[in-house]
Amino acid sequence: MPRDWKISIGFAALLAAATARAQAPVLTHTVSIYEDEKGQPLKAPEGVACGDGERLVVADTGNGRLLRLLYRNGVVSGGTPLVLSQLPYPVRLQLDGQGVLWVLDRKVRRIGRVDASGAFAGYLEVKGVPPESVVPGAFKLDAGGNVYLLDLAGVRALVLDASGAVQRQLDLPKKPAFFTDLAVDPAGTVYAVDASGGAVWSAPKAAKAFTLLAKGLKDNMSFPGSLTVSRGRLYVVDQNGDGVVVLGLDGTYQGRQLGIGWSEGLVYYPGQLCLDEGGSAFLADRYNNRVQIFSMKK
């Protein structure tokens, strides 16, 4: 290849990277959720689910309950609490295409389902591996109804169908790596974040193992606790570093947003992040006892 072509391609790649970085969305605070419909304050909320129309559900973890809300045109309404004895300490949530809420409960260490009426619809029963060998640390659902489960005990990602039958097992590297969350993109690529090593691993749909996607991110993310994929980007919530780190799907670092603080727009040990199709970001701002909603402007 002629030398000037190489230079041109290199320059174009640099320009593309710079453009992508420049276009990384900026989280701008719009509104925060502080209490339920009766005015009872949130306490250490760790999870938030969005994306099913206007529905919004908060895992009000410290109060041991779920809050069901609506978010329409920048206004939050509702806030009906839902206390379920089967899910006493909810930490991660996701709504599926049928309006069923999936809940990871840290106390019972199981994933439960809650139907649209608010009734408990049973735990996810993992089939194909000894159930006692599975300790879910995080999960994600894809559009096809498959469940991607981060198994802390087995140090692996399990891909299950909606009935809980294991379809695929992807082992993760063991200590010193420590995985806190996973995510799956529309192409079926699974991503997992190593909080201890500051690294992201990925496994394409047909892959049999994870490979390292991005390492050496410890200077940019202290202890990532939550991972979300949306519109060609990975959003890593830096729990101990109090911020959100944006990466490309190839692992390139695109920026870091938010910072430690108590005022609105700042976060303190943030938990789960949920991004909806309308360009809103919902962040469980755990030790600020609130959920913050941001608009994602480019």
């Binding site: 502080y34 410290g62 802390l152 005990a153 420590f178 202290s222 108590w262 600020n288």
Partner: protein, 420 residues
């Protein structure tokens, strides 16, 4: 292409030539003129030549092997950067070394060796044992005090360790454990099997039970021994000696520990938040040794190192903090946190921040800024004012672990009307 190959050959030949010979040619010195000429001014240096161990170029009076007699950009008129001077002849760290001694990794050769001469073997700046102790004092002092001593330690550290690097083992060991150990300890002797209760431990990790540097316990066991090990009841956790499964544990993970520590495990699992390390992978064994340890609670390492193996970011941030919380500086994470589980945020051992801090600090009992459940934080209506409203628990870059450089800056975050 031919010219490149020729250049490469010249470079290779040049690198193969002794440094002294290169210097001789470079400075066009008369034969034998090198060191002799230097000694005319550096007369006191003649004493060096009478020492027991003299560096080869010095012995050959080839001072220009390392020094430039005219001028240099480096200290002591060295012909090259001090690290490169040594490496020109001594490549002590092989490619792909599994472990490297810190001074060797940093090419701080003169930390251990005198570049001219020394009364000690290998030009060491101190006698070998004393030299190692100058950095590894804690280890050597403990070894000296140990009631049961390991003979190789008395013979010198280099019996087991390579002082520069190891291609095959961690901790710059000459061989990995157990290969290193079985070099002396004959595993096929009946007494060996008897002392290990009939188990074939020839492929086991000897240092999971034994302290290779010495111990106050018989059999060089670490000071803290898991009760079944101390009682010789290995089969409480492992398959019976001679079984087909070898030395495998009867069960994996928490269920095995639960057979004896049931109430403790139940208490841990009853809390809202179980430390992920207690559930992940090897569960209890992520932090604890199942056999013996130097550290209380059978921890695999000192608490700060154990916690830091996952929470390295916190350790690094704290290390960089100008003001540190005393328990953090002492590496005592469990002063505030429950390492297993808890109901409180951040796995605090007590119910709230005020309870946690109040265990040592009694400000609230006499005089303090208003704090507690009735005092709302003006920055966030869902927060109450507590110690962490102004301080960070581990430390900060500012005095008294405050969040801001000045008190004015910090106080006016809430007391906005005083902002200037």
């Amino acid at each position: 292409m031919r010219s490149r190959i020729a250049a490469l050959l010249v470079t290779l030949l040049a690198s193969a030539m002794p440094t002294a010979a290169l210097a001789q040619a470079k400075f066009k010195l008369k034969p034998g003129a090198g060191g002799q000429a230097c000694l005319e001014c550096h007369g006191a240096f003649a004493d060096q030549l009478r020492k027991a161990s003299v560096h080869t170029p010095v012995k050959a009076k080839e001072c220009t092997g390392c020094h430039n007699p005219h001028a240099s950009d480096h200290k002591a008129l060295l012909g090259a950067d001090p690290s490169r001077s040594c490496l020109a002849c001594h490549a002590m760290v092989p490619e792909g070394a599994k472990s490297v001694h810190q001074p060797a990794a940093e090419v701080r050769c003169t930390g251990c060796h005198d570049p001219h001469a020394s009364p000690n073997k290998f030009n060491l700046v101190k006698p070998a044992g004393e030299l190692c102790a100058s950095c590894h004092a804690k280890l050597t002092q403990a070894a000296a005090k140990a009631g049961a001593k390991h003979r190789p330690v008395e013979q010198g550290c280099t019996t087991c360790h390579d002082p520069h690097a190891s291609t095959s083992a961690p901790h710059v060991l000459k061989k990995a454990v157990p290969a290193l150990c079985v070099g002396c300890h004959k595993v096929d002797k009946p007494v060996f099997a008897k002392r290990h209760f009939g188990y074939d431990v020839s492929k086991s990790d000897c240092v999971s039970c034994h302290d290779p540097h010495g111990s106050s316990r018989r059999g060089l066991l670490y000071d803290k021994v898991h009760s079944p090990v101390a009682k010789g009841m290995c089969s409480q956790c492992h398959q019976a000696p001679g079984s087909a499964a070898g030395f495998q544990p009867k069960q994996a993970g928490v269920p095995l520990c639960q057979t004896c520590h049931g109430p403790k495990v139940a208490q841990i699992l009853s809390k809202n938040r179980v430390h992920a390390a207690a559930l992940a992978g090897d569960a209890c064994l992520e932090c604890h040794s199942p056999h013996a340890s130097k550290v209380k609670g059978l921890l695999r390492a000192e608490p700060a190192r154990t916690c830091g193996s996952c929470h390295g970011d916190t350790m690094r941030r704290t290390a960089a903090a100008a003001s540190k919380h005393q328990p953090v500086a002492d590496g005592d994470c469990t002063s505030c946190h429950d390492p297993h589980s808890g109901d409180a945020p951040l796995l605090f051992a007590k119910a709230s921040v005020l309870d946690t801090c109040g265990g040592c600090h009694d400000w609230l009992k006499h005089a303090s800024h208003p704090m507690g459940e009735k005092v709302k934080d003006p920055r966030n209506r869902n927060l109450r004012v507590d110690c962490l409203s102004c301080h960070r628990g581990h430390g900060t870059g500012y005095k008294k672990m405050l969040l801001n450089a000045t008190q004015t800056e910090m106080c006016t975050k809430c007391h906005e009307k005083y902002q200037r």
